[in-house]
């Protein structure tokens, strides 16, 4: 028990202030709410992860294909780092009783190198800051920023940053589940089938050269969904966090006041609030929603699908605007918004392209936006990895 008690009659918005106040003790410390995931890029772990985003790129599933690639081995998708540790701490929210919702609102991941089959992996998530934020309508929110560092075979190779927003449970947020599960009429179904059938394969072994890419180029739309419970479940398997039986969870939740709540249907008082994200019974009739990390991974997959095996995803920044909900579809589309050349501290030059993505649901609502910075090969100039140190931008923007 934490000793932090909720006073009766205190409005939920006061829990925001209390969370900010109590979080001082963990700023700069390892996030108390982030569990370790996988520790090796085994074929099983990587193929589970690739499957979770519907990624059929053989570079991420086929050791033989990988051995014949420019990387000389099978790789893991870049966002596989989320299976090692996922930034997105909510500070001390797990440790104190509260009436707040928590939603991942943004994540930025940066890579210096690829993840190869058999790599041993580790990561550390720290709470960087906890601040107040006011919405446009003056509503108070707590914003928790966490950072992550990733190590591959003992050496640093990637990093990240995430923001989580906490809001009073009794206030609507863009992530609130306030409409019924979407129903598709036969004509909608036919359209979705046509889209899925027409979706092109990943670019694969054919290089996408930097000099062939122009500002304004667009990517082929990819369709995800309608989101099913299987999609969410496979994400849980891909994330690689331990899944424990009820009695072990019961004991764990004893020390996590902020995760415990009475089950909405059974009344059992030791239910994990986090389970609402994957439970179609407890959330009926609205249904659960995809975890934010899955959306980040879907955005990453869209980028790697487009760039081809010889490209390198240097940075991915994802801003989440609303939930990708059970039964919803997500259409991802991208546009090239920038091209430039960058140099690292070892004098390696990189031909960079920024791809801006938008993910919309079947109602046309924006679910997520993302910027992917990709290093592409150019003729006679393969991408040299790893990236050493910081990058300097050599060219003015072509705008």
């Amino acid at each position: 028990m934490t000793g932090i008690e909720i006073q009766a009659g205190v409005p939920a918005v006061d829990d925001v202030e209390r969370l900010i106040r109590c979080s001082g003790r963990v700023i700069g410390c390892i996030a108390p709410d982030i569990e370790p995931g996988v520790d090796v890029a085994s074929w099983l772990n990587v193929s589970r992860f690739a499957e979770a985003s519907g990624d059929d790129n053989p570079l991420y599933t086929d050791p033989q294909y990988g051995a014949g690639s420019a990387h000389h081995t099978m790789l893991a998708p870049p966002t596989f780092v989320l299976a090692i540790r996922a930034p997105g701490s909510a500070g001390v929210a797990d440790l104190m009783a509260h009436r707040l919702t928590r939603d991942l609102t943004s994540m930025r991941l940066t890579w210096d190198d690829t993840i190869r089959l058999g790599d041993t992996l580790s990561g550390r998530v720290c709470v960087a800051d906890v601040t107040r934020r006011y919405t446009q309508t003056g509503r108070l929110r707590a914003r928790v920023v966490s950072t992550v560092d990733y190590h591959r075979n003992g050496a640093s190779f990637a990093s990240g940053l995430a923001e989580v927003e906490l809001a009073p449970l009794d206030e609507q947020t863009p992530f609130s589940q306030c409409r019924a599960i979407h129903r598709y009429e036969p004509a909608d179904v036919q359209r979705l089938v046509r889209e899925l059938e027409a979706e092109p394969s990943c670019r694969g072994a054919v290089p996408r050269y930097w000099s062939d890419v122009a500002l304004g180029d667009t990517t082929a739309v990819t369709l995800k969904g309608p989101l099913t419970l299987s999609d969410i479940e496979v994400w849980v398997f891909a994330e690689g966090r331990p899944v424990r039986a009820g009695n072990i969870e019961y004991a764990r939740l004893a020390a996590r006041d902020g995760r415990r709540a009475p089950h909405p249907l059974t009344g059992w008082p030791v239910w994990d609030r986090a389970d609402a994200s994957l439970d179609s019974a407890a959330t009926a009739p609205a249904g659960p929603a995809a975890p934010g990390g899955l959306l980040v991974t879907l955005a990453g997959q869209h980028v790697t699908h487009w760039m081809g095996d010889d490209g390198f995803l240097r940075q991915l920044t994802v801003r989440l605007h609303r939930s990708f909900r059970y039964g919803d579809v997500l259409r991802l589309a991208g546009t090239v918004v920038d091209r430039d050349i960058r140099t690292d501290e070892a004098e390696n030059r990189y031909h960079a392209v920024t791809l801006r993505l938008a993910g919309t649901n079947q109602l046309g609502e924006t679910v997520a936006e993302a910027d992917g910075v990709v290093f592409l090969p150019d003729r006679g100039k393969p991408v040299r990895l790893p990236v050493h140190g910081g990058l300097s931008c050599d060219t003015p923007l072509e705008r």
Binding site: W43, D56, N247, S280
Partner: protein, 441 residues
């Protein structure tokens, strides 16, 4: 389209033809997965590591340091971390689903029982191969309708070729007329046939208090020795409880299993996004029309999804029977302590554990005896043994599980149980009529 009766007759006939042949189920995924899907014995992608063992134990609801703390386990008589033998379900599911075809057959199947026979401890570093052979198929008329009982035996070897365990699995196929000639009933007939009438159980304060008290007071014997001489027939084992079954519980089994094996048709068992859509198109028995979204390519989450469980004639999400082929081993090991060895365990699933149901397992010593096991060269080893009766109930006091077990205990006279337990190179099939009865334990 084939009529229901015709499809059912074909299923029975084709399933009979598969008896006594190596099962095509639960082989490794095809290329590009690294193992040979056609090899027999069938290789498994499961590799026991310290972390995997820890996760398996927690998935089972067991935080025994023999499984979770390698340093503790190294100090034990076993000399290393070990894992409950029931992890072998991730090597090969211990029952067979019979004949398959892309559209499936009109039967709802349920794992009805598993009998284990363990010969040795399982340790980090082990890898496995297996053989699964369907042995019996019996068509009966039960209380509600016709049922097909399907029995098989499984052998599990480690990567040194040592036989570690056998399992006998019993699957019941219930013919469902609403499915017509395929495995999936039309969405408009959903709910017409439900095997039970249940809502999620709403717990009273008294029930909650009772469950919490049981959870809080659960104890493990650990390294305190329970000698065979100190046990008497009629002794009761401390009860074991699992709190209300929820979505996390439904994922415990799959979180470790997913990706290890191919689908029944030998293809990769993909469940997410476009690859899952393509799989639904290729194997219609994998697809359900979602009753709310109307999406006809929804994967088959009948166990987990409250919107889809009626496709299995269930009113609510329900457990995987194979979970109850594992969980009760904790009842035995918590009681026997680190020095005991579970040699046999049988659990039969009498009704589903529905979403929101809790499980309470009780055990009682029904026999105490000495038994001998013989090596192929004729040497024998004597084991002080006890037979235990297992009874699992839900919060409504309905029996959801019955079974038996044989536990080898240390003895003041003969010391620790000797491992591995001697066995024939390929022990013969023990028919259902034998392994389901108390006398075998």
């Amino acid at each position: 389209m084939q009529a229901f009766d015709e499809a059912l007759a074909e299923f029975i006939e084709r399933s009979r033809l598969l008896l006594d042949k190596e099962s095509r189920e639960d082989h490794p995924p095809p290329h590009p997965a690294p193992l040979d899907p056609d090899a027999v014995p069938v290789p498994s992608a499961l590799i026991l590591t310290e972390e995997l063992i820890r996760r398996y134990a927690h998935a089972l609801g067991d935080d025994n340091p023999l499984y979770t703390d390698p340093a503790y386990a190294e100090r034990s008589w076993l000399g290393s971390q070990v894992v409950p033998g029931t992890i072998l379900i991730h090597v090969r599911f211990p029952a067979d689903h019979g004949a398959q075809r892309p559209e499936g057959y009109p039967v709802a199947n349920f794992l009805s029982g598993v009998a284990w026979e363990f010969y040795d401890a399982l340790r980090p570093g082990m890898r496995f191969s297996s053989s699964k052979v369907p042995r019996e198929l019996v068509v009966t008329r039960g209380r509600q309708a016709q049922a097909i009982s399907h029995h098989c035996e499984c052998f599990y070897w480690d990567n040194s070729g040592a036989l570690l365990a056998k399992a006998y699995g019993h699957l019941v196929h219930l013919p469902v007329e609403q499915m017509g000639g395929t495995r999936v009933m039309p969405v408009e007939r959903l709910g017409e046939r439900l095997l039970y009438d249940r809502e999620p159980h709403r717990y009273t304060e008294t029930e909650i208090e009772k469950l919490r008290e049981m959870l809080d007071s659960e104890e493990r014997r650990g390294d305190r020795v329970l000698n065979w001489e100190d046990v008497s027939e009629g002794d009761e084992l401390p009860a074991m409880v699992q709190p209300p079954y929820g979505m996390r519980d439904a994922l415990t089994y799959q979180a470790l299993d997913h990706g290890l094996i191919a689908a029944f048709d030998g293809t990769r068992l993909v469940r997410a996004f476009r690859p899952a859509y393509k799989r639904c198109r290729a194997s219609p028995d994998f697809a359900r029309t979602h009753p709310v979204t109307g999406w006809p390519y929804t994967p088959y989450d009948e166990h987990e999804d409250r919107f889809l469980s009626a496709y299995r004639c269930q009113p609510l999400p329900f457990d995987f029977g194979v979970q109850r082929a594992q969980i009760p081993i904790r009842l035995l090991t918590d009681w026997a302590g680190d020095h005991g060895f579970v040699h046999r365990m049988y659990t039969s699933m009498r009704r589903p554990v529905f979403y929101g149901d809790s499980m309470i397992f009780d055990g009682k010593v029904i026999r105490k005896y000495l038994t001998e096991r013989t090596y192929d060269d004729g040497r024998t080893v004597c084991y002080p043994a006890v037979a235990i009766e297992i009874v699992g109930r839900n919060q409504r006091d309905e029996i959801q599980c019955l079974g038996y077990a044989t536990v080898f205990l240390p003895s003041a006279e003969s010391g620790q149980p000797r491992l591995p337990v001697p066995h024939a190179e390929r022990p013969g099939y023990v028919p259902f009529g034998v392994h389901r009865r108390a006398g075998w334990y």
